[in-house]
């Protein structure tokens, strides 16, 4: 038991070390204020929190409602979720001032799903998701700067500015995007899992989709294949209850998405509770590695509309939105937990918030889009096919 805890704590340090800035400074003489901040950030004593909303299980036993975490992890949850929230709000105002164009689907409200998932995964596990992917990219090791650049179509964006909001990827951390066509990423997820199992990588794939995509035929094809071949894939349905403007009860005969795998076991999770998400994903990962496909339904909510073109209030009441914000907001939940357990003070939290705001503000970078990228990456490099040039002055161009 103790060794288990130590191992878990060790894993947590590995996961959060890169993001914890104060580890080095804590070794040097520090001021009083810094000491309390640094100690919380590296305190790895395990604490047990009871998860408030019980899981609903389908063809499996639900995991325990007692989640083990550390102050370090909780602080990290707060910082990351707050950063994600600031980033999405910044994207909102950039879109309104027309720096970001095209389509922009914001994730604020759903941060706990991403953060809880990452806490239970390693970078060997693959993630593939739909178009609400800014925060998933951040969770997979992306930086706010490359996300902002990508949103504005700049060359130093994570996809060289060619993908935009919906197409962010991170190859070294096994993040397969970022997909625009609803539901099309789920069979892809099954394929990734097959490759992992075949190469004996000891990792799982999380194929994420929404309640709207849950009615796509290709999802059922993917689930059948995954269950048939015992692939280590976890289908994660981020149920924010609205497929664009359509409420779940108006598009699905059965809005119990965790049951829709039928022969695939599933869990319904409170998606606004990062610890509940982490617990469930850990459980699902173990299942997927040993037995096969699993479904997780994250009961979550988005504050913004479907995209920046959608005010988000024609199909739901403002009371509903503010109600969720007051009662279930994921960041507030962690804030209350941190203060209740006296892990940090209000001043510490304010500092963390200020740092996050600064990081986002700094990341709004300026660079010119470079036309040299227009014709690249259509085929594997070296094909050299001749095509028409971008304007009549350049009559022909050769694909690089």
């Amino acid at each position: 038991m103790a060794s288990q805890l130590l191992r878990r704590a060790g894993k947590l340090i590995n996961v959060s070390a890169s993001a914890t800035k104060n580890l080095a400074s804590s070794l040097a003489p520090i001021s009083q204020a810094n000491r309390s901040f640094a100690s919380a950030a590296e305190d790895t004593n395990p604490i047990t929190i009871e998860i408030a909303v019980p899981y609903k299980a389908h063809k499996c036993e639900p995991p325990s409602l007692l989640a083990t975490t550390t102050p370090q992890e909780l602080v990290q949850f707060f910082k990351t979720m707050f950063l994600m929230r600031r980033m999405e709000i910044a994207a909102d105002s950039l879109y309104k001032s027309k720096f970001i164009r095209g389509f922009c689907h914001l994730y604020d409200g759903q941060e706990a799903v991403c953060v809880g998932m990452e806490a239970a995964l390693t970078k060997t596990d693959c993630i593939v998701t739909a178009y609400r992917d800014h925060c998933i990219h951040l969770g997979r090791g992306g930086t706010v700067k490359e996300i902002m650049s990508e949103l504005m179509g700049r060359k130093d964006g994570c996809s060289l500015g060619k993908g935009g909001s919906m197409h962010m990827y991170k190859k070294e951390n096994n993040f397969y995007g970022g997909n625009g066509i609803v539901g099309a990423q789920t069979p892809l997820g099954a394929g990734l899992a097959f490759a992992q199992k075949y190469s004996k990588v000891e990792g799982v794939t999380l194929a994420m989709y929404g309640d709207g995509a849950a009615n796509q035929g290709q999802l059922f094809e993917a689930m059948n294949i995954a269950a048939l071949w015992d692939l280590p894939v976890i289908f994660v349905c981020e149920n924010n209850h609205y497929g664009m403007g359509t409420a779940e009860w108006r598009s699905a005969k059965s809005p119990e998405y965790y049951r829709r795998g039928d022969y695939v076991p599933g869990l319904k999770v409170d998606g606004m509770d990062a610890l509940a998400v982490k617990q469930a994903v850990k459980y699902a990962k173990e299942y997927a590695l040993t037995k096969g496909a699993f479904v997780l339904e994250m009961d979550t909510y988005r504050y913004h509309g479907h995209s920046m073109s959608d005010p988000g209030s024609t199909y739901r009441t403002r009371d509903e939105i503010s109600g969720v914000r007051q009662e279930r907001d994921p960041i507030e939940r962690i804030r209350k937990l941190l203060l209740a357990k006296e892990i940090v003070t209000v001043a510490d939290l304010k500092n963390m918030e200020k740092e996050a705001k600064k990081e986002v503000d700094d990341a709004v970078a300026q660079a010119k889009p470079d036309p040299s990228e227009l014709l690249s990456h259509i085929y594997v490099k070296g094909l050299g096919t001749e095509v028409f040039g971008p304007d009549r002055k350049e009559f022909t161009a050769v694909l690089p």
Binding site: G153, I181, G212, Q216, I378, D391
Partner: protein
Amino acid sequence: MVCNTCLFSVWQSCMMKACRMRKLNLFYGIRVRAKSWSYVFGEDVGFGGVFRCTTGLADTFGKHRVFNTPLCEQGIVGFGIGLAAMGNRAVAEIQFADYIFPAFDQIVNEAAKFRYRSGNLFNCGGLTIRTPYGAVGHGALYHSQSPEAYFCHVPGLKVVIPRSPTQAKGLLLAAIRDPNPVIFFEPKWLYRLSVEDVPEGDYTLPLSQAEVIREGGDITLVGWGAQLAIMEEACVEASKEGISCELIDLRTLLPWDKEIVEASVNKTGRLLVSHEAPITGGFGAEIAASITERCFLRLESPVARVCGLDTPFPLVFEPFYMPTKNKILDAIKASVNF
């Protein structure tokens, strides 16, 4: 297009006619084998749709005839084919043409071939698929595509593309009433941009008939949809340099009006086709090949195609990708000075 007024009146004319027909039938005691109705369905059409095309329809005609579907294009089209096979008019909306590909199998393998394979026992002629297509300035890869060429390759389908609100109303009514499955591509660029006085009341415009919208003698330009506005600008610029352009709106791409284009090219001796879709394998290629076949000895210069580049529809690079007025103008001059 001023969608509210335009398409609403389209629906009114169409659906009320169906209603009236039914009442007449009952009144005269004529037994109709299939009680035919019109239906409008698709993702989010109930509240009016993402482009407000179906605003007010559910209130007027009822939720049993104007209803939302779940997010499943293949299901939507397959369902529409079934409805149409029972003699109804099914108007299915695919929210963006970029999403039509899950339904590609249903359209190509089922809808287009239903009449043929059943020896005319069955057909789904009552099916009309409406879908917004084309560039909109910021749509990027999956909200800007022009997939008309894929469907022009399928015998059994009709492909119709209007250029303006007045045209849209007449062509859409014709498409819905046409006894063949029709795909109706609506240029989304025009939803907010184009304002016109659309005549109230019922009128249709003929399918498979192109329209000469500008007369000229030096070169024939052929296009469809939103691209015509760009081509018109190029024609105006060209006329300042003494080149007189004839501009033809194809309106129906499949089956297309070869006669009008042939007659025009026989007059001018030059042809230019322009479309937003990528140039290779675009519908311009079919027009070029057919006209070269028919007018070979009359042609004074090679058929010019000014189209989108052979790239996925780009995000920031859209201005470079698009067949702009200047590219068309350059091609006109090159053709005339060949």
